[in-house]
């Protein structure tokens, strides 16, 4: 497993210069909230690090997380670390197929038991004995328990693997669950949620592990704090408009063209933890809010159920229709109850007075 100098060789083979590599390390240092001066140390540590063995499993997914990091425009250091060097098994990119591929998987699981890292993409269906997703005759549940159960650590990549995601959304026909819920006694589970998970965060997590020889601090949903420690809202470039009270009221209006706050279009940035505003997407090209679209909250648990309707601030009231106006229902309720109490109260007092008068000016008379 130990293979000194593997990275240097690979970098040279892919034509990545030393300068580019150090620049990459500086980016990683920034994502991990380390000072820029440690970039050199980070580079040294990565070069000296053991080559990690990775197994990438895909279950009930759209391969979007794989796509996310395969879409790099040139062979970056991240790509090398993630797919060229260390992946022993990855359905989408591996050359082997059929029984050969499955044999490679079981060999890695056996030879590196307790040492490899399992990266899982997609949720795990538990309905119908796992029949909704089978690979090589085994159900996703079986494979996940075998592979993740013997892994040194499991990284759930993307919201489906981390929280169940879209397959687990109501009515969840396949009984899909998150990896953490499917594998009892899972060790060192790390959830990299988001739809898809940001390739920079996947890389940063591995760099952290390679250099620090431990896993980063996690939040209550087992997400690394370096990437999920702050609300999107708190780092948002449109935050000043939020605090000023200047909002986009409709798509394409003047405020939208001026790049003002998307809060009223249902932006879920204030309830979503991710570092999108800082590292952005597609190698820092842009990000949803940056190009005028509200955040959908894809990194939060059950976002497909909880964050919808995506373009409204709040979900409606059950029984009053999808996206019904909570305030209108609330005003109706308050007015209705107050009206009923008032009418009943007046009727009650008038009737009591009348009964008292009939009882011969005995206000305390009882009729029972």
């Amino acid at each position: 497993m130990t293979e000194q100098g593997w990275l240097e060789r690979e970098l040279k083979a892919h034509g990545v210069s030393r300068r580019e590599f150090v620049k990459f390390c500086a980016t990683m240092a920034a994502i991990l909230a380390l000072p820029q001066t440690v970039a050199e140390n980070l580079a040294e540590a990565i070069e000296k690090a053991d080559k990690p063995t990775l197994i990438w499993l895909e279950f009930q997914d759209c391969a979007g997380n794989t796509e996310s990091f395969l879409r790099a425009s040139r062979p970056t250091v991240a790509e090398i670390i993630l797919e060229k060097v260390s992946l022993d098994y990855h359905e989408t990119v591996m050359a082997a197929a059929g029984h050969q591929a499955e044999a490679a998987l079981s060999k890695t699981v056996k030879d590196y038991a307790g040492k490899y890292i399992a990266m899982v993409e997609g949720s795990i269906p538990t309905g119908a004995d796992g029949a909704y997703c089978t690979i090589g005759g085994k159900s996703a549940l079986q494979i996940a328990r075998e592979v993740c159960g013997a892994a040194a650590a499991t990284v759930a990549v993307g919201t489906c693997a981390a929280f169940g995601g879209i397959p687990a959304a109501r009515p969840n026909p396949t009984g899909a669950v998150a990896v953490g819920d499917a594998v009892p006694g899972i060790k060192n589970l790390i959830n990299l949620s988001a739809c898809p998970a940001n390739a920079e965060n996947i890389t940063a997590l591995l760099v952290y592990y390679l250099t620090m020889k431990q896993w980063p601090p996690l939040d209550q949903y087992r997400r690394p704090l370096f990437a999920y420690g702050k609300l999107i809202h708190d780092n948002c470039e449109r935050r000043a408009y939020f605090d000023a009270g200047q909002y986009v009221e409709a798509w394409g209006d003047e405020a939208h063209r001026h790049g003002r706050c998307l809060y009223k279009l249902g932006c879920k940035g204030p309830v979503t933890f991710q570092n999108c505003p800082v590292i952005q997407w597609n190698q820092g090209t842009n990000w949803p809010i940056g190009c005028g679209h509200p955040c959908l909250g894809c990194a939060e648990p059950n976002f497909w159920d909880r964050m919808t309707p995506f373009y409204r601030h709040l979900e409606g009231v059950p029984g009053f229709g999808l996206g019904s106006n909570v305030d209108r229902v609330g005003i109706g309720l308050a007015a209705g109850v107050a009206g009923a109490f008032a009418i009943h109260g007046v009727a009650r007092v008038v009737s009591a007075r009348r009964a008292a008068r009939a009882d011969g000016e005995k206000p305390e008379g009882e009729s029972q």
Binding site: Q220, Y221, L231, D234, A240, Y241, F242, D243, A244, G245, Q246, Y247, E249, A255, Y263, K264, K268, P270, V271, T272, F273, G297, E300, P301, N302, R306, M307, H313, L314, E315, V317, V326, D327, V329, G330, I331, L333, A334, V337, A338, F341, A342, H344, G345, R348, V349, S351, A352, A355, A356, D359, P363, E364, G365, E366, S367, Q368
Partner: protein, 236 residues
């Protein structure tokens, strides 16, 4: 009873009973006023209107949020004090005024229900809260605690690093995530407004039906308890 009867004014002021102690009245109005401020600012926060002018000159949402948070501090402290007073105050402030546990309270509850159902013409005499109003307060306190819990959860993610308020992040998964906490906080406001309106109307009706100066009592602390034939029996 002893506590209250000891405070009873001499015969020259017949029926004046000291019911609501100072902490009860202060927390009552502190909660009421803070809830009014919280509803106004909270409605803006949930459904803001856009401010015109230069962005650098405006801080509408910022101010609304700060006022909301300070009003929330008043609300939370007053609510905690009132709940604490349920265990230290006089019998009319006691927690058992809210849930009809004793047979007497339960009988009073039935009598009040009969009154409201037009099956009885006099309002049953109670010095403190009548058992039915007490039950309404169970709803009000429950909603206020829910508002405090969802508010703490929502604030916990805004609290700066080092703030003790961050410990309330543990509430977020319990409440079903931040977006659900937001929804609950918003719907809770309307339910609270509904119950508060019901409370105000009920008190006005009781005040008129019972001629007990119930409305005045939350300012002065004294209720007018006229000795009636069935008064003592119903007192509970």
């Amino acid at each position: 009873m002893n506590d209250a009867s000891a405070r009873r004014l001499p015969e020259s002021a017949p029926g004046r009973v000291y019911v609501w102690e100072l902490p009860v009245r202060v927390t009552h109005w502190a909660i009421f006023l803070s809830v009014v401020v919280l509803c106004v600012t909270g409605t803006y926060i949930g459904r803001p209107f856009s401010a015109g002018g230069a962005t650098t000159d405006r801080f509408v949402m910022g101010i609304m949020k700060v006022v909301h948070f300070y009003a929330a501090i008043v609300f939370d402290v007053a609510l905690a004090a009132r709940i604490g007073w349920m265990f230290f105050g006089n019998r009319y402030a006691c927690w058992d005024q809210f849930i009809p546990l004793t047979r007497e309270r339960w009988r009073g509850f039935v009598k009040t229900t009969k009154f409201y159902c037009f099956l009885r013409h006099s309002f049953p005499e109670t010095i403190g809260l009548n058992p039915m109003l007490g039950l309404l307060f169970v709803g009000i306190f429950a909603l206020e605690l829910l508002m405090a819990a969802t508010g703490f959860a929502l604030y916990s993610v805004l609290a700066p690093i080092g703030s003790p308020m961050r410990v309330f992040r543990f509430l977020v998964p319990i409440l079903g995530g931040l977006q659900d906490a937001r929804w609950t906080h918003h719907v809770g406001m309307w339910l609270l407004i509904t119950l508060v309106l019901a409370h105000i109307i009920a008190v006005v009706v009781i005040s008129v039906a019972q001629r007990s100066d119930m409305i005045g009592s939350i300012f002065s602390g004294y209720k007018l308890i006229v000795d009636r034939q069935d008064g003592e029996r119903d007192n509970g």
